[in-house]
Assembly symmetry: C2
Homo-oligomer: 574 residues x 2
Amino acid sequence: MIIRMEQFGAKSEQGFDNTLAVRSALDSCKELEGAVLVFPCGNYHFWPDKAVEKQLFISNHDQEGLRRIAFHLADRSGFTVDGQGSEFIFHGPMIPFVIENCSQVLVRNLVIDWEEPMFAQGTVSRADHESFDIQMPEGTDYKVEDHAVWFTFGGKPEKVWGLNEFDKQTNAPAYQSGDQLSWGNYSKVRIEQSRPGVITFQGDNMKLPRIGNLIVMRFGRRENPAFFISGGENVSVASVNVHHAPGMGLLAQWCTNIHLHQFNVMRRPGSDRIVTATADATHFVYCRGKVTLDHCLFENQLDDPCNVHGIYARITERLGDDRLLVELAHDMAKGIKIANPGDRLEFVRRDSLLTYANLTLKDLNVLNKDYVELEFEQQLPEDMEMDDGVGNTLWQPDLTVTNTTVRANRARGFLITTSGNVRLEHNKISAPGSGIKISGDANYWFESGAVRQVIIHHNEFTDCNYCCPEWGKAVIDIDPEIEWPKAYEECYHRHISIEKNRFVTFDTGILYGHSVDGIRFVDNVIEKSDSYPPHHVMAYPIQLKACKNVTIAGNQWPNGTQTVAWVNDEERKV
Amino acid sequence: MIIRMEQFGAKSEQGFDNTLAVRSALDSCKELEGAVLVFPCGNYHFWPDKAVEKQLFISNHDQEGLRRIAFHLADRSGFTVDGQGSEFIFHGPMIPFVIENCSQVLVRNLVIDWEEPMFAQGTVSRADHESFDIQMPEGTDYKVEDHAVWFTFGGKPEKVWGLNEFDKQTNAPAYQSGDQLSWGNYSKVRIEQSRPGVITFQGDNMKLPRIGNLIVMRFGRRENPAFFISGGENVSVASVNVHHAPGMGLLAQWCTNIHLHQFNVMRRPGSDRIVTATADATHFVYCRGKVTLDHCLFENQLDDPCNVHGIYARITERLGDDRLLVELAHDMAKGIKIANPGDRLEFVRRDSLLTYANLTLKDLNVLNKDYVELEFEQQLPEDMEMDDGVGNTLWQPDLTVTNTTVRANRARGFLITTSGNVRLEHNKISAPGSGIKISGDANYWFESGAVRQVIIHHNEFTDCNYCCPEWGKAVIDIDPEIEWPKAYEECYHRHISIEKNRFVTFDTGILYGHSVDGIRFVDNVIEKSDSYPPHHVMAYPIQLKACKNVTIAGNQWPNGTQTVAWVNDEERKV
C-alpha cells in the first residue's frame, strides 16, 4: 500500500516544517505491513521542535541527552520510504532516520542535508612562525569572546574545540596536518579577532597551516547521525546521498543483515562546503549476518568511512561462582547492549587480548548505562582477572564491501574487527591514515575483536598515509593493542589475504602487522607516485612482527619483482 | 511481610555501597502487597555508580539528563520503608527516593544526608568599597581557575555561579542580601585567589557582604531532590529528616493524596553546614485530593519551603476546530504532563489571567517535552488567542499545613496557587521574603492557578521580608502577574481569609494584594520588633488594589486598634 505524503500535508516549501506531516503519516500505517511512504520529488524541511523525542544510546556517539527524530520507525515489518529523489533539509540537532527493531525496511532515493552544518570553514590568510589568521567568508555569523570562537547550531551557542586543515588543491586533509590543532592542542592556542572577519590564532610550537588552505572549525557534539539503526533485521538504504550530518552518516548496532547500495556520504555537487558528516560515514557495532556495502562513496567526512566491531566489556567484580559485574568502559559505549541470554561470550586478557575461556550467558541484568551483571551457564574461569575483557562471539557479521570509493576524509579507511568473513574487493581507497586498519583493544576504545578471515583483493589504494603516523603507519595496518606481541605463542588475528591489489604510494609503508597467524601478500602491484613528499615513517614496505604462516610472493614493486621486508625480526627478500 | 535489609547484604559501614543490596531487596518483593523494608538502625552509604538509571521529567528542576536512583519504587501497592532511625548518606548526583505510580506507600524513620554537599561555604574576612575576601575553611578542596571558583561534586568539576550571604548571628540570609551576588550579577564579578584559602571578589556597584558573615557558594544544577513522587496515590513520608539534597527536599507531581508528618528539611544538629536542600523544601505540581503537612520543619534551604501549583501551557497553534497545539514554555516545566483525557481545562488570557472558556479534553498527543497536541470534546472558543494559557481545573489539591515551622531559608514562605481548599493554621513562619505568596502567571513561570478558598488562621509570622522587595513586598503578598489589574471587572483570586494571626515585624508591610474578590483581614495582632532596620518598601501596612468584598476589622496594631490602609486607590482607616 502506498502512503502519499502530500495527503498528510507534506509541502516542498522553504520555511515549512514537515515533522508533523511525517508523524501523522507514520502513525497512520503503524500496523500496515508492506507500506510504502512516497514523497513527491521536492525539497522538504524539518525542524526538531515538534519531532519525536527519545533517550537513545548510540554507540560511538556522545551519549547524554534526549534526541529529536524526524522519521522514527519502530517495530515495523515491511516498510519503505521512497523520496523519489527528494531533498530532506534538516535544521539544528536532530536525527533524520531512527530504525529500531524493524525488519524488511528500505529507505531509498533521497538526499539528506542540513541548512546550516555543525562546522564552519575559513581560509588561511596569513601565517608566520607562531601565529596565523583565518579569514571567514563574508556574512559568517560568529563571534570571538572570552578568547574563544563561537558559532550557533540549532539556536545554541557552540564553542570551537578544534581545527582541521584541508588542502585547497586536493580538497582533502592537508599533508601531515592531522589533529594537531584539535582538543588539547587547540585549548592552548590564544585566539583573538584581529579585525572584522579575521581571527588570529597564536601559540608556541603550533602546527602552522599553509596560506590559502581551508580550515574547518569544529564545534558541537557527536550526537545525531543521519541514520541510526538499532536491532531488527534486513534493513537497506539505497540511492541515498548524505551531504551532512552532525554525527555519523549511518550507525547500526545489534542489527542482522544490513545492505547499503549507493549510500553516499558525499559533498553536494557545486557546494563550497568541504566537510560532509562530522564523524564516520558508516559504523557497525555488534551486528550479525551480512553487512554489505556496494557502489558507495564516502568522502570528506570527519572520521573513518567504515568501522565494524564489537565491544569488550571490562570485568570489575566477581559476584559469585557464575556471576560477575562488567563495565562499559568507554564513554561512547555507555548504555550499549553487550549480549542476549544464550550468547557465547569470550574472556580475553587485558594485555594479550587472547581468549582464555568461552562461556554461555544464562541471564543478564543491566544496572545502568555503566554496569551490567552477567550470569553464566558455567562456572567462571578460575584465572579470571579484574580488567580482563568480555566479548560477544555470536554477534560478528560478515562484511562485504565492493565497488566503493573512500577519499579525502579525516583519519583512516576501513576499520575491521569482526570474526565474520570479510571481503573487500574492487574498491578505491585513499585515506590520510591507513587505508585498512585491523586493530582490537581492551584498554582504551574497547573495540573487539579478532578477525578470522579477511579477503582484500583487487582494490586500488592511492596515496594513503599522507597524515602519518597519527592515523596509521602503513596502507594496511594490523595493530591490535597488545603490549608485547612477541610474548605470546598464539596470535590474535588470523587469515588475512591481500591479493592482486594496486598500491599507488608516495611513501614506503605498504603493510604493517603483528600477532597475525596466516597472512598472505600476493600478486599485488606497487607503484610510485610523487603526490606528496615521502615521510619515511616505515623503513621497509612490509613490516611484520610475531606473525605466523607469512606468504609474500608474486608482487611487483616499483623497482621490480622483489624488495626487502622486515619479517619477524629479520630482513627478508620478498 | 517484613523484608530485612541485612539479609540482602546491607551494611552500616563507611565505604560500603548499599545500592545493590537495596536493588536486590526491592526486586525480591516487587509483587508483594504490604511489604515492609526494614533497616537495622545504622549509617548506610549510597553511590550512584550502580544505581537504577532513568530519564525523569521532574517539575521545577533542571530537566536534561538521566538520573540515578537509590530507592526506585514503581507500580507498587502497600509498601513501607522503615529506616528505624538510620542515616542514609549519599555521594554525588543521585535521587534517594523515586516513587512512581504507587499507592499506599510510606517512608519513615530515617535521615537523608550527603557526604559532600552541592554547595560550599566560607567566611567574609575583608570587605572594602569594591571588593571582599572569602576565607575558606582549612582543607576545603577547591580551585580558582580562569577567573572562576571550582569545586567538585560526584567527581565532576562544578563552577560557582552565585553567592548567598548568611548572617553569622541568626544563621539566616543576611538583611537585604537577596540574590544580588548570583547569576547575572555574579558573572560580572572579577575573581582571584589572593592567597591560599582566600578568594577575592571584585566588582563595581557590587552588594558587599558583612565581615564575619557566612557566604554560601552555589554550584551544580537543580537535578536531584531527596524525594520525587510522580503519579499514584496515598503516599506518606513521616519522621524523615533531610539534611541535604542537591535539589528539592520533596517534589510531587500528579499524585493524589500526600501526607507529610514530621518531614523536616533541617540542618543537622551540631553541624556547621548552613544550608540544607539547594532548592525548595516541598513542592507540589498538579496534585489532587489532599496534600497535608503537619509538624514539619523547613529551614535554611535555598528556596521556598512549600509551593503548590499547576502549569499553564501556552497556546501556540490552532490545528482545527477542536484541536490545538500548546507548549510547555518554562524550561523547568518541560516534559511534565498537563492533563489526562476527560480532564476539564480552562482557557485563560495571557494578560488578565481570567478564564474565558472551560472545555473537556478528549485526547492528547505528547509530541515531545516541549509540545502537546490537545483535542477537545467541544469546539475551541472563537476568541482564543495565541499565547493564552491552558490550565487543568481538575488537578487542584486541597492543602492543609499545620504546626509547621519555616525559617532562615532563601526566598519566600508558602506559595499557594491551587483552587482547592487551603488551610494554614498554627504555623510559625519567618522568611526573608513574603511569608505567604499567592501569585499565578502565564508569562514567565507559567505556574497556575487562581485560589478559591484560603484560610490563614492562628499562625505566627516573625520578621518576614528582611530581604525586600526582591522576594515579596509584604508578609502576605497576593500578586498574580496581571499587568493592569484594575482594567478587569472580574478578579483572579477569591476568598482569602486571614484571621487571628500574630504578626511580629520590624517593618510596615503586612498585606499586599490585587485582583482578589473576598479578602478578610480580621482579629489579627500586629507587634513591632527591632530585629532589623525598617526598609519601608510599603508605605501602608495594608495595600489592596482592584479587590472586592474587602473586610479589615478587629485587628490590634502596634499603636492601637486602628491604622490607615490603602484600599482600592484610597486611604482608609481600618
